[in-house]
Structures are given as structure tokens and as C-alpha cells.
Assembly symmetry: C2
């Protein structure tokens, strides 16, 4: 039997937005049809994006349903178990990642459309593959596509401990572009630990929100800040925008600060400083590339990683075992924890255990 984690829309409507019911479900797993591929998920992260999806606040909705419930999880890596008769370019054992959003990766086995999957090369650590679609590729697009960044110029970003931010630091550094990384206020010991980790990764400046607020002039002195990447919104996003140099670009990546905060523009932010404000969507940037380019990008990113030129986030992962029905609570608990968004936790990564029964019954 396939095991999956769903979100009940019905329950959410009854209970009001923000109180959706996350459920562990079982479903018979049919053989792949003509253009389908049957896969076994190996790892799937729990991203802030998933939190937005669960809350109904992410614009791209889950594509697959079970009993009318959305199948959750947007990122991850799977291996091919079987292919339908019309699929001639994937084989059992190939590694695949989602080629689009909303695939439902929080399930152990699934039959999916071939076009929903992107084949990737063998990878030194599956964790990199599991975050390729939602953290690595968007970080690459942020550095490449959002502004014309020249060596010596700066990107300022908040949520500096996020996996995405740690990837932005690395892609920026490869181009000689510097980063100012804003982390939330926290105790000194953990702030120093984070600063050390980010500096080792190539970060130029790591500051807390309070430090940026109170010492902006000296922190920003002689820095041309061309791009602001805001994952928080509200006051934190406002501070990034204030830090931008004239002509800079503000990009909204998300709103970890919740959806109650506003970002208050002053008349001369846009008009006087000529700042452009826009959203970032990884899916839109991916779609702006041809299928051949998308495949080449995946291959190249895995290659960079296998060569050690791009590293996994040193702030690390928390393993969450998926051990079938009996272990469902641990996964559901990890999802709930991620929704609370406690400070300084490392990325939860669901590890699907190879179970005899799941393979037998697919």
C-alpha cells in the first residue's frame, strides 16, 4: 500500500483558514499507466513553502489528490520502480526529482506522469537532490535572474540560516558577489555558531536584525547593495529595502513573518531611490528556460555538488524517519513543528525507510 500525507480541505473550511487537518493515509498503489512512472520516494524535506501550502497561502496548489484531499510535499528525490509502456527514457533505478510544483512528495510510493519528473544524475549525497528543486535551483535563479549583479556588489537577505540563503551565499560567491546575511536575534552563543558557519560558506557579513536596525550606516558603508531577498516581510523586509542602494531590486521570496504584517513604503523608496519591487517564483524562472536547458541546469548543479564546488548547508538537517503507519506520528509531528517555525532549527528531512511491505504491495 502507498502511504501518504494529505491535507483535508473540508476540515479546513469548517475550522477556518489556518486549521487544516494533516492526515496520514493509505491508498492502493496501481501499476503505472501508459505515460506514468512508478517511483519510490527516498527523501523529502519540509520547507517553509510547505507551510504556506498547508495554510492555503501558496499560489501553486497541490496537483494530486486522494479522496478529495491534497497530497502534500513539494520537494524531494525518488527512484524509479517501474515505467508505463509509453515511457522510453526512464529506467528502474533512475533518480528523479519533481519537474514542477505541487507533486505531493510526502508519500512513499506513487505513480506520476512522466512529465512531472526530471531525471538527475547520480549524486554524492541524496540530501542535495532532495532540496534541488525548492532550495538549490531557486537560489541559483535569485543570483542569476533578478538583477544585474557585478563582482563586488552585494545581495542582502534575511532568514540567513535558511537552506535557500546558504545556497544564495554560495552561488553569489562564485560570481564575486558579496552577501549581507540577516539572522533573527538570538542568544550570543548560537549567533556566533551561525556566523562562523555562514562565513565559512562564503558569507561576507552576518548580522542580526537588531544590529542592522541600529548600525545600518556602518554596516552598509561603501557597499553597493543591488539586490534584497526578503523571506520574512514586515519590519524585516523594510530593513532590507532601506539597505538597498539606489536603483536596486527588492524581491519578495516569502513571508515567514506571517500574513498580518505590512511592509510600509515611503514616497521616496520607489520614486526617489528608483527601487523595483517584485515577487520571486522559482517555477516562473524555471519555466522561462527550455526543457533542454532545465535538464542541463539540473545536470550541471549535481555536477557542481559532486565536485565539491557547492556544499550542503552546514547548518544541517534533522532526520525524520518515515516508518510507515506506526511511525506516522513522527512525521506529522515534524510537520507541525515546522509550522510553528521555532528559531534556529535545522531543516527537517523525511527519510523514507525501505520497508518490505511497501515494496511488496506497490
Amino acid at each position: 500500500m502507498a502511504q501518504l500525507i494529505t491535507r483535508s480541505n473540508e476540515t479546513m473550511e469548517n475550522a477556518g483558514v489556518g486549521s487544516p487537518s494533516i492526515r496520514f493515509r493509505k491508498q492502493e498503489c496501481l501499476s503505472p499507466r501508459a505515460s506514468e512512472v512508478q517511483v519510490r520516494f527516498l527523501m523529502a524535506p519540509i520547507h517553509p513553502l510547505d507551510k504556506l501550502v498547508i495554510g492555503g497561502r501558496y499560489p501553486v496548489k497541490p496537483v494530486y489528490k486522494h479522496m478529495g484531499e491534497d497530497i502534500l510535499g513539494y520537494d524531494g528525490v525518488a527512484e524509479v520502480l517501474a515505467v508505463g509502456p509509453q515511457v522510453d527514457d526512464l529506467y528502474t533505478g533512475d533518480l528523479v526529482i519533481p519537474s514542477k510544483f505541487g507533486l505531493g512528495t510526502w508519500r512513499n510510493v506513487a505513480s506520476l506522469q512522466r512529465s512531472d519528473l526530471e531525471k538527475i544524475p547520480r549524486v554524492k549525497d541524496l540530501r542535495f537532490a532532495a532540496i534541488l528543486r525548492v532550495s538549490v535551483m531557486p537560489a541559483y535563479f535569485l543570483v542569476e535572474d533578478m538583477a544585474t549583479l557585478r563582482p563586488g556588489e552585494y545581495i542582502i537577505q534575511n532568514a540567513g540560516t535558511s537552506v535557500m540563503a546558504q545556497m544564495v551565499i554560495q552561488f553569489a560567491r562564485r560570481h564575486g558577489i558579496k552577501t549581507i546575511n540577516v539572522i533573527r536575534d538570538r542568544d550570543q552563543a548560537s549567533a556566533i555558531m551561525i556566523q562562523t558557519a555562514l562565513h565559512q560558506l562564503g558569507a561576507d557579513t552576518v548580522v542580526t536584525e537588531s544590529e542592522l536596525l541600529h548600525n545600518a550606516a556602518s554596516i552598509l558603508e561603501n557597499k553597493k547593495v543591488t539586490l534584497a531577498v526578503d523571506s520574512v516581510f514586515g519590519h524585516s523586509g523594510r530593513a532590507l529595502m532601506k539597505a538597498l542602494s539606489a536603483g536596486g531590486t527588492y524581491v519578495q521570496l516569502g513571508f515567514l513573518g506571517g500574513n498580518q504584517e505590512t511592509l510600509d513604503l515611503e514616497p521616496n523608496d520607489i520614486f526617489g531611490k528608483q527601487i523595483v519591487l517584485r515577487a520571486f517564483r522559482g517555477s516562473a524562472q524555471l519555466a522561462s528556460r527550455s526543457l533542454v536547458q532545465q535538464q542541463a541546469l539540473c545536470d550541471w548543479l549535481v555536477h557542481l555538488f559532486n565536485e565539491g564546488q557547492i556544499l550542503l548547508p552546514p547548518l544541517g538537517f534533522t532526520d525524520v524517519p518515515w516508518s510507515g503507519e506506526n511511525g506516522a506520528n513522527e512525521v506529522l509531528e515534524a510537520i507541525r513543528d515546522a509550522q510553528v517555525g521555532e528559531l534556529g532549527r535545522s531543516k527537517p528531512m523525511i527519510l523514507f525507510e525501505m520497508q518490505e511491505d511497501s515494496v511488496d504491495n506497490v
Copy 2:
């Protein structure tokens, strides 16, 4: 003697921003040097932009000075009196307009660099030439350059009675693009007068700010609003942004609402609705065109006007006579009135009187 209107920076610094001293000055007018052209101004409007310049809040500063004071006025039309020995493409009697911002058009005669001036064809009404640089060309750029607008789509704009807005209506209509024009709340009689005038010009919808606030759903029903042009900021700008369809572009043209108001973005304005926010600067759009293209654009716009395809704003002008030292008070008064920004007044247009002494003494 040349007569000119200046802004004293010194006085402003002493009195605090917002209290600059506007002065009527006289200056000896020398013959044009090698690459200079001596001109006599015929008409010069008083634009909201001038108000920003006087307040020190416009990014492009006045270029010409007299006794350390900025020479004011950014738009207008002049005729050539004499040219310097190196100028071989302008002749006495030619009509010229500023080719760039900050020229100081509130003066009767001046010697200016040839490169500061753009020659225009003979024009049916000099008022059109006098607003070409600051109202007509920017309106054209707004419709052409800011978003991909398709027939049937909408531009929403506030300050609907402004000369710029009346030009946007006309350029939009030429492309089959519709306009929603927001005017400030006012008594019913003058609201109806304005609605009639704007509808005759080609406006599709004319609403007051209160109407938009309270009946947004029915006003916007089935309308794809692709571009918002905000000249006011604050709550008025916020209402325009809320009216935008997904993927739309918000352009900040100015902030007539004053520089105290903020425009408060909600998390899903940018992220969920994928709205882009940017400033508009006519000078930047002009500079994106070659000198040959700029000249061709001027010629074509004057041609359209002479043919009756583009009309002067039906809401009209208020004549302000420039009658030398004795009449200086009337001009200074008109500038002060414009700074107050009273509702529903027509555009003040300074008419430079042909005075014997000004011609004799140039």
C-alpha cells in the same frame, strides 16, 4: 535684462526644508557663446513636478544657477533669438523645447546649450508645445513602455484631472486600451463636469476615490487592470494597487498626497498577485531612445496634435501673464497657489509677454 524666477537654497536651509524662498531676479543676458543658443520663452506651465523641485524632493535638480540660486521651471516652449558660431542646425525663429530636465524655463530670455534644446515643428497651439516635455511625452511613455497592454485591458490612474492623466486617456484610447480614472472627492456638480470632459476625451470609467473604495467589486468586475499609474501615493495609491489584476504593474509617478503618507503592502500583494512595483521617470524613458528617435517622437507628437488626433486637455489652463518686474507678483502668486494644490484648478500656464525692453536689452 533677463528676468528669472529662482529658488534660494540658503534661505531654505535656514528655514528648514519646505520653506524655500522663491524670488524674481534680473540678470544681464549675454550673447550666446560658441555652442549656445539664445532663446525667448513663450509659455511655461507650472507642473506638480515643479512643486517637488521647489521642495527639494525631485531627484533631478535644476541645472542652471543665478547667484547660487536654482533657476526654476522644467517645461515650456521658446523661440530662438540667436545662435552661437558653432550652432549650425537652429535658426532664429525656430521653436524649441527642453531636451532634458532642470533647464529653468521660468525666465523670459536665456542663453542655453544647444544640446539642452530639442527643435520642434510649427504647432497649432503653443500650449501643446509647452507641455510636450513634462506631460505629453511621459503620458506616451506610460502607455508604451510600462507594461504590455492589449486592447480591452485597463489602465487605472488617479489624479484623473491632471494634464498627464488626460494625455494617458488619449494615448491609451489610440491602442484600444481602456482607462479607469480616479478623481478626488468633490461636490457633485464639478464631479459631473469632470466626468463629462474625461468621457469626451475617451475615458471609459471616471470614479471618485470614495466610489472606488466602496464599490470596487462592481467597478472592477470583468476588467483586466494591467497597469496602475499612481500620482498620489498613500491610501489613494493603495486603492489603485488593490484594483490591479494578477501580474499587473504598479507605477509610481509622484506623491501628490505629500511625503508623510506610506503605502502599506500586504504579504500577498507582491507574492500572491505577482505585482511589480516601480517608479516612472520620463527622463529615463526618453534616454532609452536614440537622439534620432527622440526627434522623430517629438515631430510625430506635434503632427498628431496638428492633425487633431491628440487634443489639449479639455479641463484647460489658467493664463498667468509674465509682464516683467511689475507683474512678477502674479507669477509668484501662481507658483504659491500651485504649491497649495487646491482641488480642481486648471493648469497654470505662464504667458511671457513680448516686451519692448526685454527684446532691446537681451
